[in-house]
């Protein structure tokens, strides 16, 4: 039934809607007809993608020239979620967010693999938790970023381990970088308020000079998150309790053009204090969690002879405390990262463009959950000759990377990507095969008791292929289709050693396969622009072999992985008004490995209304959102309810040009 449901929905949206739209008098945009463009509604989603250089794969080309599927989100997408974390934005992508609800964790899962197997990169450096391996994206406010790339197919040869399920690439908001419209803002700010005591505000200030820019983004939010939910056990309505929290972030970014290159630096400081509600079955009124951290990265990029050289430096200090008095839990953690790399690119106009680099660093974790301070040294070297041939229509990207870790040794990660522009400016065939790895986390290795210092890295073979089509026909702008397979072995699986101690071993084998499709259309009727996009994802992720005697999981879909999901968006822009509707249908998720219980499918509709005005030098924008319009009662993680229908209001003001400029 879910399959039939999805096929029908996809068929309706992909086949009948364009016809209906045409019947209503809308016309498809023709190339070069720039006069019909709405001046206030420019977005990355509608054919401007060639302006965007993708970073998540290290192949600095636009989306259509990549060997793997990449979903970029730009400033305008992010600005719709100014007062929130990036989680709500990313739920509009193929990535599945394992969301514990407002005030709780939100973990990204790509292609059905675990959150610890998705690498989250900030300006090219990993920010996944050293102890857990995963990255809680509820800690990442959308207001801090200029763009986010969702790249499930990125191999380990690009940025190293933890990328069995690809990566998420975050680029900081800065004065130098412009949005898709080419617009730079000198001053902007937003204030948001919403249901359940949500308050958020941000200020972004840029000082843009001829050769240098300096910008700062300040973000703060607080919320009670006391939303109502149905207590099905007792047939009554309850309110989420002990779920309040507040967070503050400061991001300072600077760029300076030098005589022989450019210097760029970003500093990010944050603090978050939260109550922890736990499941709706438990009550931990005195439980608190605090996350405090600082990250800094800096790089210089310039030419040395025939080479462009980019040395980079990254520092991170993260402090975490979790106190649960009722269970006498007092967990403390302090982690440090010092990473450095040097990348080099041979400046040539030939068929082969050589790039490569070396990196190294130290990672250290000090926590009362380990017997003493633990650290690891890591080094890596990689090389990638990008080959462009056949009249610039065939791109081959072979790469090999070798990583050396002080705790488990060396890992070799080769990959081979291809992108063939079969029909110029219209159709690209693409594919990539890679051997990837995921290092054991510090908790896997050192948790006391149970940590296993003899763990090996998880390994996988990943392959994907598909096409990227720009038909420019019947309003259809882009069609993407991707099929993938992942064979994972040496997966780390925690199992009970006895009644109180669990320990991890490299015993898990996973087989993942899936199909990702996406169609984007664009229509015009007078001053009105209508954009539609639909996407359907199939993920089949199974345990490959028994992990212990009597294991009933092999051959069954993994827990908490929806086999099907469907997304649709409709956006209408007319004059200063914008109406955006997004729809998501998520298949059931198994709770138990033997498929004896599950969470039912759910569908979510969000409605957003935008009004943009200009007044003298200022731009203003009012945003009203109705989230979960259908008031769906649902959970993504068992016993963590999601809020029903609720309102959010955001006011944004901007001063695009620096006074005197």
């Amino acid at each position: 039934m879910p399959l039939l449901h999805t096929i029908l929905q996809t068929a309706v949206c992909m086949l009948f809607i364009p016809g209906t739209i045409q019947a209503l008098g809308y016309t498809a945009k023709t190339p070069g007809d720039s006069s019909v463009w709405n001046p206030v509604a420019d977005t990355l989603r509608t054919g401007e993608l060639d302006r965007i250089t993708i970073r998540s794969t290290r192949i600095d080309e636009p989306v259509r020239f990549q060997p793997v599927r990449v979903e970029p989100f730009g400033l305008e997408d992010l600005s719709l979620h100014t007062g929130e974390s990036i989680g709500s934005l990313l739920s509009r992508s193929s990535l599945f967010v394992r969301d514990n609800g407002p005030g709780g964790m939100a973990l990204p899962s790509q292609r059905g693999l675990s959150p610890g197997q998705t690498q989250v990169l900030w300006e090219g450096f990993p920010i996944n938790s050293l102890s857990l391996g995963q990255s809680d994206i509820s800690l990442l406010p959308a207001a801090l970023f200029q763009s986010i790339e969702v790249s499930p197919g990125t191999p380990s040869s690009s940025y190293g381990g933890a990328s069995l399920g690809g990566n998420l690439y975050l680029t900081s908001r800065s004065g130098r970088r412009t949005d898709a419209t080419g617009q730079k803002e000198w001053l902007s700010g937003s204030l948001g308020a919403g249901a359940f005591g949500n308050r958020a505000g941000s200020v972004h200030l840029s000082n843009i000079g001829e050769r240098q820019t300096l910008s700062a983004t300040l973000f703060g939010s607080m919320a009670e998150n006391d939303f109502p939910y149905p207590d099905h056990r007792n047939d009554r309505e309850m309110r989420r309790e002990n779920n309040a929290g507040g967070t503050g972030h400061l991001l300072v970014s600077g760029d300076r053009e030098l005589r022989n290159g450019s210097l760029s630096s970003q500093l990010w400081v944050w603090d978050r204090l939260e109550e922890i509600p736990g499941t709706v079955l438990s009550s931990y009124p005195d439980t608190r969690q605090r996350d405090l951290g600082i990250r800094w990265n800096s790089h210089w990029s310039g030419t040395v002879g025939r080479w462009r050289v980019t040395p980079r430096l990254f520092l991170e200090r993260y402090q975490f405390t979790y106190r649960e008095p009722s269970s006498s839990i007092d967990s403390r953690l302090l982690s440090d990262r010092l990473l450095t790399s040097v990348e080099a690119e041979l400046l040539t106009t030939g068929t082969v463009r050589w790039t490569g680099g070396v990196s190294g660093g130290l990672e250290r974790v000090d926590t009362n959950n380990y017997p003493d301070t633990k650290q690891r040294l890591r080094t890596a070297a990689w090389i990638r000759p990008d080959i462009t041939t056949a009249g610039d229509r065939l791109r081959l990207t072979p790469a090999v990377r070798i990583d050396t870790y002080s705790d488990f040794g060396q890992v070799l990660s080769p990959s081979l990507g291809i992108n063939w522009e079969m029909v110029p400016d219209r159709l690209h065939l693409r594919g990539l095969a890679s051997r990837d790895f995921n290092p054991p986390t510090f908790n896997d290795l050192h948790w006391q008791p149970g940590g296993n210092p003899n763990l090996k890295p998880e390994r996988s073979i990943k392959a994907e292929g598909g096409f990227y089509w720009l038909p420019e026909w019947a309003g259809i702008r882009t069609v993407e289709w991707t099929v993938y397979r992942i064979w994972l072995n040496q997966g780390i699986y925690w199992s009970p050693v006895n009644s109180t101690i669990w320990s991890p071993e490299n015993v898990e084998e996973l087989h993942a396969r899936g199909i990702e499709t996406r169609i984007e259309t664009e229509w015009f009727a007078g001053p009105t622009r209508l954009q539609l996009s639909t996407a359907a994802d199939l993920r089949q992720v199974e345990i490959g072999s028994a992990r212990f005697p009597g294991d009933q999981a092999p051959g069954r879909q993994l827990r908490y992985v929806p086999e099907w999901s469907f997304r649709g968006e409709i956006r209408a822009d007319t004059g200063p008004f914008t109406l955006l509707t997004d729809y998501r249908w998520t298949d059931r998720r198994w709770i138990t490995a033997d498929h004896t219980s599950w969470l039912p499918p759910h569908q979510i509709v969000n409605l957003t209304f935008l009004l943009k005005r200009e007044w003298r030098l200022f731009t203003g924008q009012v945003q009203l959102s109705i989230r979960n319009l259908l008031d769906e009662s649902y959970e993504i993680i068992r016993w963590y309810p999601m809020p029903g229908r609720h309102l959010e209001f955001t006011l944004r003001l901007g001063l695009p040009f620096q006074p005197g400029s």
Partner: protein, 364 residues
């Protein structure tokens, strides 16, 4: 003197044995019990399935040893609603079945025959982490609380927890009433070695009796001796196991009248569950990857008669002369129970909910 059964070493990993169990498992899957969760025979076996903590999916499985039919989720059948929580323990007393749960922290009182839920005592707001309930009389019971080292007094008439409590040792778990005294096993997760004794008339702590490391389970035998199972302590030096500093588990016997320590039986290993078989004078101990037998008269281990398998729980059905071993495959999928005759032959197996842990035997 009871006749001792003849048991030889056997392993569930032997192919023929596994096939036999598989056939039994298939044969035992019937919907008949769905119409009558109490079964049709002279008695029934209630399996307490702990469940996975984060999913709160403990469950009760009913097994009819006569028809060999089982009902996987008997609570749901009886109450038309999901059972919610992690089962810590179950106590049959005074015609009630007390199921102690975490996540949510509450005591659910069921009719032991129909499994209909009659009352729920919620203790979450008091920040009690309930482990075990014992009933003194119609009015009063006791509740051990894992993390605060206390035993709380239950008002069974009102279905509430009294404001008084009794300080005992570290991480109290199972309790037992013998005469006018309440005995509390303070496990300390391997960092306590005492059984606390409380006067049930004054609710005052009388004394502590020193036993093995990590006492967690108590059982009274027909000779009025309390058997105490201590789990021991698995030592770690950092993340590395440190076997030299292990403190192995053991079984101790206590005289509840004289409050004296009677004997110690060194089992070695780290035992997790036990059951007394008074018919044959045997104590069965689940210990690491084996099930040991202790002669209850000589208080000695019978080394020759060990079952080489790892189990999660054990129960002895005295009226039928069968013992039940719970097999927990993982906390993400259903477990199963294997029924053995006293001769050591598997006579049946049936599927259970997640992490089967304890057994209760109901006779009509």
């Amino acid at each position: 003197m009871n006749e001792q059964p003849t048991i030889t070493r056997f392993s569930i990993r032997q192919p023929i044995f596994t096939c036999f169990l598989a056939l039994l498992l298939l044969a035992g899957c019937s919907d008949d019990l769905l119409n009558d969760p109490t079964g049709s025979g002279d008695g029934q076996v209630l399996v307490l399935n702990e469940g996975n903590f984060s999913d709160g999916n403990g469950s009760l499985t009913v097994y009819d040893p006569d028809s060999k039919e089982s009902l996987l989720r008997a609570y749901q059948q009886a109450n038309s609603s999901e059972f919610t929580g992690i089962i810590q323990s179950g106590t049959l007393a005074g015609g009630d079945l007390f199921i102690v749960k975490n996540n949510p922290n509450e005591i659910e009182i069921l009719d032991p025959v129909t499994l209909k839920s009659n009352n729920v005592i919620s203790v979450g707001e008091q920040e009690i982490t309930p482990v075990h309930v014992v009933r003194l009389n119609n009015e009063k019971g006791y509740l051990s609380s894992l993390y605060d080292g206390r035993v709380y007094i239950l008002n069974l008439q009102e279905g509430s927890v009294e404001e008084e409590w009794i300080e005992v040792g570290n991480n109290p778990q199972q309790m037992l009433i013998a005469g006018n005294r309440l005995f509390v096993a303070n496990s300390g997760f391997g960092n306590d070695n005492r059984v606390s004794v409380i006067d049930t008339q004054t609710d005052e702590l009388l004394t502590h009796i020193t036993v093995g490391t990590g006492p967690s389970r108590l059982e009274l035998d027909s000779n009025n001796r309390i058997w105490v199972l201590s789990r021991g302590l698995q030592a770690y030096d950092g993340t590395e196991r440190d076997p030299e500093n292990d403190q192995p588990g053991q079984v101790d016997l206590i005289d509840p009248s004289g409050l004296s320590h009677l004997a110690t039986i060194e089992t070695g290993g780290f035992p997790t569950a036990f059951a007394l078989d008074p018919l044959n004078g045997t104590a069965w101990v689940v210990n690491d990857d084996q099930v040991q037998q202790i002669n209850m008269e000589t208080l000695s281990l019978d080394e020759e008669r060990t079952i080489d398998e790892s189990y999660h729980g054990i129960g002895f059905y005295q009226e039928r002369g069968e013992f039940y071993l719970a097999e927990n495959t993982s906390y993400e999928q259903n477990g199963r129970v294997i029924v053995y005759s006293l001769e050591g032959a598997p006579v049946d197996t049936f599927a259970t909910g997640i992490a089967p842990k304890d057994f209760l035997f109901l006779e009509r």
